[in-house]
Amino acid sequence: MEKILDTKYTYTEKKDTRSGFGDGFLEVGKKNKNVVGLCADLIGSLKMGAFQKEFPDRFFQVGISEANMMGLAAGLTIGGKIPYTGTFANFSTGRVYDQIRQSIAYSEKNVKICASHAGLTLGEDGATHQILEDVGMMKMLPNMTVINPCDYNQTKAATIAIADHEGPVYLRFGRPKWPIFTPADQPFEIGKAWKMIEGTDVTIFATGHLVWEAVVAEAILREEGISVELINIHTIKPLDTAAVLASVAKTGCAVTAEEHQFNGGLGDIIAQTLVRNQPVPQEFIGVDDSFGESGKPEELLEKYGLNAENIVKAAKKAIARK
């Protein structure tokens, strides 16, 4: 029998973060009549159906034409609309990079690029769909805000909050049912890191689904007498530099955890921040320059070294390097 861990955050229910998006999208649609939706033949997968039903005149099914969708979204902003585009993360970024770059980011258009099925936890569809480079591509673009919430509640809150932010946003979420461990009524402040657990020996900076893995890792490390500070980086860009530096000033080492390539991800931007200001040892949890593959989400997180166990090892290594 597996030992029950005394995690600082717990859950009673699991739900997919894409449902958090879908529910948040309906709610923000009710609050703000300028919000409009577009989807490229994935309304069911993106959970955009409730909004479509409620606001048929503010929703456009564009078929399987993602490049076209990005252009339409840019155009809709010119009439004062706040378009939310919906497709899988791969087809929201790599597929349409130049369309986003020119018509949205460079042109400073108020488009919310909402991307589901990001990362390895997409599972069985395999590497063609499992994008692990999207955060890098999006955060390289000037003017782009990049957000990767951790559970259903945070995704819902983020979906609502981005409508009030003027400018292009990349909102990344996923497919699998995942623990809901953050509060339903949380405020969501773009660009403000959330210190979830205070500690003194090592800081774990985690984003997206891996925040839960980091919560589990903290409990394991605490049992071994290691004090972990856990910071939830839901906004990867702009990074909350002050929060990052304040934490490592105390702990003296860092672990970054994300469902993404090392190249271009959260680890990269944290490393840049540390090197420029206050170099300390840093260990990376992420995918090491390879494509993903088909499999169950948990199996893939294990095979590619992204689960709590790996975070525990990385934390010990970072501490040893101090």
Binding site: I64, D125, A127
Partner: protein, 283 residues
């Protein structure tokens, strides 16, 4: 290659449909709908039409080549590849499971025999097929290139870039087919993004267009592909509008988008297998 009788080809189709259903059931994911719908087409290609070598040479010199652009219908391709000798049918068990060569969408990285380029992100396969057809011309290789696309997939802009390009470069060693099943993920193509007159569109782009009225009848599929071949060599590529029924062969799956990407449960599998004779032995 010895010619198979219609009865033999239909027997293969029945077994391939069993394989498709058992594969998606085992991993509870994947795309049975258009896999079932395109079974006759794949069997016609690999068991009747194409000159191909199951010992598999990636560059395919001296062979006919096939490219699957709508990569989500990998189950039918994997089944047909294994049933025609590319790899052991036992390996179908590993479909979509971790450490498998049978990825959710076709991939080359794990080295599965029969696959020459990854697909899954829609809209890209026809361009690759045109490139391969051009390479054959440069090499003086007179074998043909085949490609399959989905009808929903026609909504991707890249398809039309490719459509314009092939006649311009006189790629007349290419037969591209579209699986016209009238369905895509969110519903009927007419409601999602109406394709209107595909025949007129492809003709306007400079292709010879033929229509296969019933792509679930193997003799018709073969007749169409024969006709397509007879039209080649005259400076134009051929486009085959292959009308199929999504989910064909299983009464409760047929003709709806609902089974585009949903796996049957235990009961549904049993019901479905009861409708399809085991002809070559289940893996």
């Amino acid at each position: 290659m010895e010619k198979h009788s219609t009865e033999q080809l239909n027997a293969v189709c029945s077994q391939v449909r069993r394989d498709i259903l058992r594969m998606v059931h085992a991993c509870q994911s994947g795309h049975p709908g258009a896999s079932l719908g395109c079974t006759e087409f794949f069997v016609a290609l690999y068991f009747d039409q194409m000159k191909h070598d199951s010992s598999f040479n990636p560059d395919g010199k001296g062979e006919d080549l096939f490219f699957l652009s709508n990569g989500h219908i990998s189950p039918v391709w994997y089944s047909v590849l294994s049933r025609s000798g590319y790899f052991d049918t036992e390996e179908l068990k590993t479909f979509r499971k971790i450490n498998s060569r049978l990825q959710g969408h076709p991939a080359t990285e794990e080295g599965l025999p029969g696959i020459r380029v990854a697909s899954g992100s829609l809209g890209q396969g026809l361009s690759v097929a045109i490139g391969a057809a051009l390479a054959k011309k440069i090499n003086g290789d007179d074998r043909l290139v085949y490609a399959l696309m989905g009808d929903g997939e026609q909504q991707e802009g890249q398809i039309w870039e490719a459509a314009m390009c092939a006649p311009h470069h006189k790629v007349d060693n290419l037969i591209a087919s579209i699986d016209v099943n009238g369905q895509q993920i969110d519903g009927p193509t007419k409601e999602i993004m109406n394709l209107l007159d595909l025949k007129a569109k492809w003709e306007a782009f400079g292709w010879e267009v033929i229509v296969t009225e019933n792509g679930n009848e193997i003799t018709q599929v073969i007749k169409s592909l024969e006709k397509a071949k007879s039209l080649l060599g005259n400076g134009k590529p051929v486009l085959n509008l292959l009308h199929t029924d999504m989910g064909y062969g299983v009464d409760f799956m047929v003709g709806t988008h609902k089974w585009h990407g949903v796996a049957p449960n235990d009961e549904q599998l049993e019901n479905a297998l009861g409708q399809l004779e085991e002809t070559l032995g289940d893996y």
